[in-house]
C-alpha cells in the first residue's frame, strides 16, 4: 500500500518555521484528513488504487502529479464529494460521508464550476460559504463576508457578478468563500490555474499567513510555483498510485518544462528507483 506512513511536522507548524526537511513520523497527532486504502472508479475505470493520505493539523501538503494522475479525484474523495469503491475516508476523525465536521472545512473547487446560469455577485457567492450542515440561513450582509473579500483584496468588487470577473479575480472570490467560515482545514484544487504570477504571489502569501496561524492546507498543484518553500510535504500521484510522500525537493519530476527543479529525474526513471518511504 502506498503512502501509509504519514509524516508529521517535526515542530509546531504554527510557528511557520517547519519545512519539509523537518518532517518526522508522529502517529499520535489526530489527523484532520485520513484516507485509508482508498480506491475510486469513474466511468467504469479505476482512477485511484489503494491510496492512503493523512494530513495532521497545521500541515501544508501539496498533491502533485501529471494530468489524469488522480490528484483531484483523491482530493474529492477525501472531502466526501466522490464515493469510495474501497477503503475509508475520515474528516476530523469522523467518517466523511456522515461527518458534521464539514463546517470546519473550506473547499475551493478546481474550475469556475460555481457559475450557474444566473451569476451571483461576489458578495452572494462568499455568503454561501457560511452555509453548513447546521447553518442554512446565511446573510450576505454578515460582516464576515466583506472581511473575507478584503482578505483576498476583492472587497471593491463585492457587488460585481462573478461572471464579469477575470479568472484570477474569480479564483480569489472562491478562496474568500472558503475562508469566510474560518476553516481549520483548507482544501484547494489547483488555486493557481489560469492565474497570473502577481496573483499567484498574492494567494501564496495568504496561504503562508493561514498556515502560520495553524490552518491545515491540502492543495492540488500542477507546479509548486511560489509555494515551493512553504510546502511541508508533497504527495505525488501517478496513474492513481502514490509514488512519493515526503519532502517537496525530493519529489520525482513529472512534467518537464513545468517549473520543477531542473535536476529532478523524469517519473519513468524514478519509478524504477528506490524512493522515499511511502
Amino acid at each position: 500500500m502506498s503512502g501509509d506512513t504519514a509524516p508529521d511536522l517535526g515542530t509546531d507548524p504554527a510557528d511557520g518555521a517547519t519545512r519539509a526537511g523537518d518532517l518526522e513520523p508522529a502517529s499520535e497527532v489526530a489527523p484532520v484528513i485520513e484516507v485509508t486504502a482508498a480506491s475510486v472508479s469513474r466511468g467504469g475505470q479505476r482512477v485511484l488504487h489503494d491510496v492512503d493520505l493523512r494530513i495532521v493539523p497545521g500541515e501544508l501538503v501539496a498533491l502533485l502529479g501529471a494530468n489524469g494522475s488522480g490528484k483531484s479525484t483523491l482530493l474529492r474523495a477525501a472531502v466526501g464529494i466522490l464515493p469510495l469503491e474501497t477503503g475509508s475516508a475520515r474528516l476530523f476523525g469522523a467518517p466523511v460521508q456522515r461527518s458534521l465536521a464539514h463546517d470546519r472545512l473550506g473547499y475551493v473547487p478546481q474550475d469556475s464550476t460555481e457559475a450557474g446560469s444566473i451569476p451571483a455577485t461576489a458578495q452572494e457567492t462568499v455568503a454561501s460559504g457560511l452555509l453548513g450542515a447546521r447553518s442554512w440561513w446565511p446573510s450576505r450582509r454578515d460582516p464576515r463576508v466583506l472581511k473575507a473579500l478584503e482578505q483576498v483584496g476583492m472587497s471593491d468588487l463585492a457587488g460585481r457578478p462573478i461572471t464579469r470577473m477575470s479568472g484570477g479575480q474569480r479564483r480569489r472570490v472562491m478562496i474568500a468563500r472558503a475562508l469566510v467560515r474560518s476553516p481549520e482545514l483548507l482544501v484547494l484544487d489547483e488555486p493557481f490555474s489560469g492565474v497570473d504570477l502577481p496573483t499567484q504571489d498574492l494567494i501564496s502569501q495568504l496561504f503562508r499567513e493561514l498556515s502560520a496561524a495553524g490552518t491545515s492546507i491540502l492543495v492540488v498543484l500542477h507546479e509548486t510555483g511560489p509555494l515551493t518553500g512553504d510546502i511541508h510535504r508533497a504527495v505525488v500521484l501517478d496513474h492513481g498510485h502514490v509514488v512519493h510522500n515526503g519532502p517537496v525537493e525530493d519529489r520525482p519530476h513529472l512534467h518537464p518544462g513545468h517549473g520543477h527543479p531542473e535536476d529532478a529525474a523524469p517519473i519513468d526513471q524514478c519509478l524504477g528507483q528506490e524512493m522515499n518511504p511511502l
Partner: protein, 307 residues
C-alpha cells in the same frame, strides 16, 4: 363593460385572479433555480406528465362516479407531476441517460399517456384542451384552495431556504464539500417545480406553464445583477404579466395562457432593449461597496490590477 368591482364580485373571475397572483409569485421562484441548474425545460416536461395525471384523475373519477367528472383531475395532476419530478431527479443522478433525453421521454410519454387514458375514461382529447392551454371557466373554489396551499408551500421552501437552494444549484461540488444536503435540495426543487406546474396549469395551461417559470427570470437578468435581485425582479414581472394578461382576457375573448406568456415575452424584449440602451456604469454602481467604503488592507493593497 365589466367594471373592476364586477370582476371582484364574480366567482368566475375572482378565483382566476387569485390564482394568477399566486402563479406570478411562485413560478419565477422555481424558475430561478431551474435556470440556475440549466434545467429550464423541466417545467415543460412536468406539464406534459401532469396531463397524464389529469387523465388518470378523470378515469378514477369515472370509476367512482364523481361529479363533476374532472373532480380528481387536479389531484391526479399533482400526483403525476410529483412522481415525474422525482423520476427525472433520479435519472439525473444515477442514470447514464442524458438530461435532455430523459426530459424528451417525459414530454412524449406524458402527452401520449394523457390522450390514451382520457379515452379510456370515456372522454376525448377535447376534454384536455382546458388543461393544455388554460381556461378561466375551468377554475373552481376547490382549485383555488389547492392552489393557495401549494403556493404557500412553494414560497415557504423557495424563498425561506433561498440561501441554501441557491448555493446548491450554483455549485454542487462546493455544496457537497460543505456538508449541505445536496440530494434533499435537488428533490425539493423538483417537487416545487411539480407543485408549481399543477398550480399554473388551470390558467396558463400545461403547454405554456414553463414559460412563466423561465421567461420572467430571463427578462430580469437584463435588468438587475445577482441571484436574489434576479428572483425578486422576476416575481414582480410575472405577477404583473399574470394579472395583466388575465384582465385583458376579461375584456377581449382570448386564451389567458397565451396572452400571459406573450406579455412575459414582451417584458423580455423590453429588458433586452433596456440593457442595450443602458449606458455602461462604473463597477461600484453595480451594488458593491464602492471605493469610498473599501478599506485598505494588507492583501488588498497587494492586489494586482491585471488579473
Amino acid at each position: 363593460m365589466i367594471s373592476p368591482l364586477d370582476i371582484l364580485a364574480s366567482d368566475l373571475l375572482r378565483y382566476p385572479l387569485i390564482i394568477a397572483v399566486l402563479i406570478g409569485l411562485t413560478a419565477p421562484v422555481v424558475g430561478t433555480y431551474l435556470v440556475q441548474k440549466r434545467l429550464s425545460l423541466l417545467g415543460d416536461g412536468l406539464g406534459h406528465v401532469a396531463l397524464t395525471g389529469v387523465a388518470v384523475g378523470w378515469l378514477v373519477g369515472a370509476w367512482l362516479t364523481a361529479s363533476p367528472a374532472d373532480l380528481l383531475a387536479i389531484p391526479g395532476a399533482l400526483a403525476a407531476s410529483v412522481i415525474g419530478a422525482l423520476l427525472i431527479e433520479y435519472v439525473r443522478e444515477v442514470s447514464h441517460t442524458s438530461r435532455d433525453v430523459a426530459l424528451a421521454i417525459l414530454f412524449y410519454g406524458g402527452i401520449a399517456g394523457g390522450v390514451v387514458i382520457i379515452q379510456l375514461a370515456g372522454g376525448t382529447s377535447q376534454n384536455l384542451m382546458g388543461y393544455l392551454f388554460g381556461s378561466l371557466s375551468t377554475v373552481t373554489a376547490p382549485d383555488t384552495v389547492i392552489s393557495l396551499v401549494l403556493a404557500v408551500l412553494v414560497l415557504a421552501i423557495g424563498v425561506g431556504l433561498s440561501g441554501l437552494l441557491a448555493a446548491v444549484t450554483a455549485d454542487e461540488e462546493f455544496a457537497r464539500a460543505s456538508g449541505l444536503p445536496v440530494r434533499v435540495v435537488n428533490v425539493l426543487i423538483a417537487v416545487m417545480a411539480a407543485l408549481t406546474v399543477t398550480l399554473s396549469m388551470r390558467i396558463v395551461g400545461a403547454l405554456m406553464v414553463s414559460a412563466l417559470m423561465i421567461i420572467p427570470v430571463a427578462a430580469a437578468q437584463h435588468l438587475v445583477v445577482g441571484f436574489t435581485r434576479t428572483m425578486r425582479t422576476a416575481m414582480v414581472i410575472a405577477v404583473v404579466c399574470s394579472l395583466g394578461g388575465l384582465l385583458i382576457t376579461v375584456y377581449v375573448d382570448l386564451p389567458p395562457g397565451g396572452v400571459i406568456v406573450l406579455l412575459t415575452v414582451a417584458a423580455y424584449i423590453l429588458g433586452l432593449l433596456f440593457r442595450a440602451l443602458r449606458p455602461a456604469r462604473p463597477i461600484s454602481a453595480l451594488g458593491g461597496p464602492g471605493p469610498g467604503r473599501a478599506r485598505a488592507l494588507p492583501l488588498a493593497a497587494r492586489a494586482t490590477p491585471h488579473d
